[in-house]
Structure formats: structure tokens, C-alpha cells
């Protein structure tokens, strides 16, 4: 596309905003429209389960850019109007209010939405956490309650459990894995995490599935597969998320747990996907990948914007995410295969600060830091040094 064509970005959050910004930095002079279902200007989600939920930050502090920066961007934000249909051949999106928006290039950035628990929808006291409204509503409910059950032992569930403890609630975490984030971090580190949570008073009821919730209008408890019911005044369901692609049904795009893209993050001629919703072919890994993390949204946006403007760049990141739980900050660079060999290379496990290196098939694939951010970032280089040569493009 020439630098003067029009671009429509669908999704007005981290990835959508970063795409618009990268287009301008790349010299794009044509019109940019950013369409968003939420009524808010782009804001950041990581603080929603941490600072905002804890009440440390006023909700408006999560805004990603101030007015002056947005004005300089010279993009048209169409907010509070969800796209409900799309035609890839004509690159036209239809919105809930009846607008039709077409452009020379379209970037899909609609993210993911939380998975819910069957039968729990519509019951007072049951929450998910994805949006600013979700965070504010959960905070209000927690402030009036004393007993929280978190369904889900992944990163989001673990963060919410930690934050709720600082608010003084009795917190129980349930889920099928043996320890928080076990599938992601492996037994060594997730065991540490379990000890951390228990030590701070989170009651871990892990290794059991959840059957459903109890209650008529308001939730009263969480029923485990064992039949046991854990009493709850508030329940948070944090059992993962699904790509927001319902509006793309019948669009002509391939959808398979995300918008399927080539190594250039292109789903069809002139149509790209970015952020949590995108599943692209990673040439270095020789596999399709979809990531849900904050740095990925920005990094992929840089590549997508360049490709929109005519570059031919493959996207193959070293994934990175962080999480804050109690007084521990965990940083993860690269990938941590479940059967990796894990060894502590800086600090020590018992000292409360360490870097763990994950090796698989004779290569370092990832490093994890526990209260050791800087050293972890330095060790990231080992992943790059050990990276295989890119596989053939698909």
C-alpha cells in the first residue's frame, strides 16, 4: 500500500493503538480510523488486576496516551460501536450502529474475551476481569465482602487472589492444576508460587476441577468435582480467554482459535491481524503461534504497520510477560516447554531472588526471573544465541 492509502484498525486497545502509532512513525500520511467496541480511549489492562483492583490507582490512570499525544496521532477514533460483520474481499466492516467502514488496508485487533463458567452467567457476585468496568465492579464487590473464591489457577487468577489478600479478604483459589501457573512455569517455580500464596494466606484447593456455582440470585459457593461446596460471597472466573472473532464469521478469513495469518501477520490481501486475536506462522519456531501478552501487542504492531506500508517482514518475537503477585515480580523471556530442564543460574531459590534457565533439546528456550528483572533481561541473550535458524516460510 502507498503511504497515502486509508487504514482501518478494528479494536481500540494496546495493539490497535500501537498499530496506528507505528503507521505514523513509518511515514503513513493517509487517513487512519480506529474502531472500538468500548467507549473508552485506549487504556492498559495489566493494572486492572493489580493497581486498579487494589485501589492504588484511580481508574483514569490506566489511559495509554494523553490527549496531546492522541491529537498528534491524527487518527479518527470511532468508539462505543462494535464491528458486527466483515467482508475480507472488499475490506468492509459493518458496525452495531449500522456504519459501514472500508479501507485500503484493515488491521484486526479485537483481542480476546474471558471464558465463562456454564450456569454462572447472570448470577450476582460472579465476575470476570477484562475491562476497566470489570475491574471497578469487582473492586466494589470485594470491598463489601469477606470471602472470595477464585476459579482458575492461571496468571490472572493468581494475580487476583494476591490482590484480594492485600484487601483483607479470605481467598480460596481452585483449579485442576497442582500449583498456580503449573502448566506455564513447570513444577519447580510453580511450587515456589504455591508456597508464596499459602504463606500469604491464600487457601489453595488445587488439583480438582470445578463443577459449577451455587446460589439463586446471588452466588453462595463454588462446587468442586468432588461434590464439595466452598462457600463464597464473590467468585471470580479466570479460566482463560477466547479470541474475539465471532464478528468475522462469514468474512472469508480463516478462523481457528484466532485469525489465522501468514508469517507477515497477513490474513488476506490487505487484511492483517495483531495482538491477542492473531495467530500467525512463526518462521523461527516453525509453528503457528498466538500470544496473549502486553509487549507482544506493541511489538507485533510494529511489524504489521511496516507490512501495511509495503515492507515484507516476518514476525518472530522472543515472547515476554511479567506478573506481579504479592511482593514477587516474575519476568519470563522466551518459552518454557513443560518438559524443559530447569536450573537456577543467578541468585538462589531460598533467597527469594533468582533467575531460572529453561533448556530443551540442548538449547536455552527461556529464562524466568523471580524478583530479579535486570539479570533476567541480560540472560535473554542466551535465548537469541541458541535460536535455531528460521524454518522455511509457509
Amino acid at each position: 500500500m502507498s503511504a497515502a492509502g486509508s487504514v482501518l484498525v478494528v479494536g481500540a486497545s494496546a495493539a490497535g493503538l500501537a498499530t496506528a502509532e507505528a503507521l505514523r512513525r513509518g511515514g503513513h500520511a493517509g487517513p487512519v480510523t480506529v474502531l472500538g467496541a468500548e467507549r473508552h480511549l485506549p487504556y492498559d489492562r495489566p493494572p486492572l488486576s493489580k493497581k486498579v483492583l487494589a485501589g492504588e490507582w484511580e481508574p483514569d490512570r490506566v489511559r495509554l496516551r494523553q490527549d496531546s499525544a492522541l491529537a498528534a496521532l491524527d487518527a479518527e477514533f470511532v468508539l462505543g460501536d462494535a464491528a458486527v460483520g466483515f467482508d475480507a474481499a472488499t475490506r468492509t466492516a459493518r458496525t452495531a450502529s449500522g456504519r459501514e467502514l472500508s479501507a485500503d488496508a484493515v488491521v484486526l485487533a479485537t483481542g480476546v474475551r474471558p471464558r465463562t463458567l456454564p450456569g454462572a452467567d447472570g448470577l450476582d457476585g460472579v465476575h470476570v476481569l477484562r475491562t476497566l468496568e470489570d475491574s471497578v465492579a469487582l473492586r466494589a464487590d470485594l470491598a463489601a465482602a469477606s470471602r472470595l473464591v477464585v476459579v482458575g489457577e492461571g496468571v490472572l487468577g493468581a494475580e487476583i487472589a494476591a490482590t484480594a489478600r492485600t484487601m483483607g479478604l479470605d481467598v480460596t483459589m481452585v483449579g485442576p492444576q497442582p500449583a498456580p501457573m503449573a502448566g506455564l512455569l513447570g513444577p519447580l517455580v510453580s511450587g515456589r508460587l504455591a508456597a508464596l500464596h499459602s504463606g500469604r494466606g491464600v487457601d489453595l484447593r488445587l488439583g480438582t476441577g470445578v463443577d459449577g456455582v451455587t446460589g439463586e440470585h446471588r452466588v453462595t459457593g463454588v462446587r468442586l468435582d468432588t461434590g464439595e461446596v466452598l462457600p463464597a460471597e464473590v467468585v471470580v472466573v479466570a479460566i482463560g480467554a477466547v479470541p474475539e472473532t465471532g464478528w468475522l464469521a462469514g468474512s472469508g478469513l480463516e478462523l481457528d482459535d484466532g485469525v489465522v495469518c501468514d508469517s507477515r501477520c497477513r490474513a488476506a490481501p490487505g487484511v492483517y491481524a495483531v495482538g491477542d486475536v492473531a495467530r500467525w506462522w512463526d518462521e523461527r519456531l516453525g509453528a503457528q503461534v498466538r500470544l496473549e501478552n502486553r509487549t507482544h501487542a506493541t511489538e507485533q504492531a510494529g511489524v504489521v504497520a511496516a507490512n501495511v506500508l509495503g515492507a515484507d517482514r516476518a514476525y518472530s518475537p522472543i515472547p515476554y510477560f511479567w506478573t506481579d503477585q504479592h511482593d514477587v515480580k516474575i519476568q519470563v523471556h522466551g518459552t518454557l516447554p513443560p518438559d524443559a530442564e530447569v536450573s537456577v543460574v543467578d541468585g538462589d531459590l531460598d533467597g527469594g531472588r533468582f533467575v531460572a534457565r529453561y533448556r530443551h533439546d540442548g538449547r536455552t528456550t527461556g529464562v524466568l526471573g523471580w524478583n530479579m528483572a535486570k539479570q533476567t533481561r541480560i540472560r535473554r541473550q542466551e535465548i537469541i544465541d541458541d535460536s535455531p535458524a528460521p524454518a522455511a516460510q509457509r
Binding site: A18, E21, A22, R25, D44, P46, L64, R65, R294, T295, T298, E299, G302, Y320, W322, D324, K329, Q331, G369, N371, M372, A373, K374, T376, R377
Partner: protein, 66 residues
């Protein structure tokens, strides 16, 4: 160009250090960003803009006027 950082927002990603090592560093103990150069010289502006843009926590602000 004048650079400011919001330590409270920083998540310790270190992206800024990778992009502009002359301007940013990280504290040893908690990984929070350290601003080495409040008014970087013109040859560094491009990389500082890149760092501000890549920061996953929007913790770096630039005043291009001063």
C-alpha cells in the same frame, strides 16, 4: 528533548534498556527503570522515541519541545 519516567508504572520489562542503553538502565534490586540521561543528544532521539513507544507500561514520557 526531555525524558521523564514514571517508576510506579514501570514493570521492569527492560525493553527501553535494550533499545536505548545510553539513556535507560534498570535498578539491580527491583528492575525498575533508571533514567541515565534526562536530555539526550539528538543522535539518540530516534532510539529514545522507539523505547518510549515500545515500553509496555507507557512509563516513559517525552517532551519534544524542550
Amino acid at each position: 528533548m526531555k525524558v521523564t519516567v514514571d517508576e510506579d508504572k514501570c514493570c521492569g520489562a527492560g525493553t527501553c534498556v535494550m533499545v536505548a542503553p545510553d539513556v535507560f538502565d534498570q535498578r539491580e534490586d527491583d528492575g525498575v527503570v533508571v533514567l541515565l540521561d534526562v536530555q539526550p543528544t539528538a543522535d539518540l532521539h530516534e532510539s529514545v522515541r522507539e523505547a518510549a513507544n515500545m515500553c509496555p507500561a507507557a512509563a516513559i514520557a517525552l517532551d519534544e519541545q524542550s
